[in-house]
Amino acid sequence: MERLSPPVGYMLGEDQQVQDVLAVEAELLRSEGIDPAWPGFEEPRADTTPHQQ
């Protein structure tokens, strides 16, 4: 079968932690007056279908 280029994944730098990434995001949000606290997700209606394989 045809091979596309190897997929490129989402990587963090060796010394970069999850908290560092979220701190960058929080700083950008704060800069425009948005509360960076994670608001969570609203629970979906019962009739939605998951796409998980």
Binding site: P6, P7, V8, G40, F41, P44, Q53
Partner: protein, 207 residues
Amino acid sequence: MTGREDSKRRKQLSASEVERAERILHLAWLSLPPAHRALLEAIGASQWQVVDQPLGAAVDGFLRSAGHRALPLSAQRKLDLALGVWIQELRIILVHAGHTKLADLDKATYEAFIARTAWHEWGHALSVVRCSQEDIAAGRRLLDLAPVGIREGVRGAGYRSSDYTHELVAETYALLMARRQREASGKPLWLDDEIYNLVKRVTGWSD
């Protein structure tokens, strides 16, 4: 430490931990604008699976079991470090929920970051399929226009310059979704016009 060595050292996720990650991905999917979900379905990026093994080995296994050639070892080693990936041939996104960088996070941080990883991968998939060669060639210049934290993050992760545009679109898409999740819309003040217009064209962003 390689991904495989790393996986030997940490404990496997429990079934409930895998289920939790799957639930977050489902909710992240539902948080997307309906038009974006339709676009992702059209390009084959609407399926996902949570895995608990380094992604190089996981992608190789998925490809071979579907009749594709094995992934070269060098590509496997690089992917072992990743938190998420879209396999274009198989039309599926994989998220490594047991990645060491996700260990010991509190509940809110874990949920926020798994959602961010999913948003990043959906933005990345749209970028790979819809960016032009000119967009890709402009990656270095576009990255210079990005907010400093984003620019440093992409450069520090060791991507090739030919990946810069896709990573920038993916990161910007994840950030726009993070804003949307907080009920903010419109062009952010911190985002350059050229990047915003690229993301709008490639992902269908219309806020």
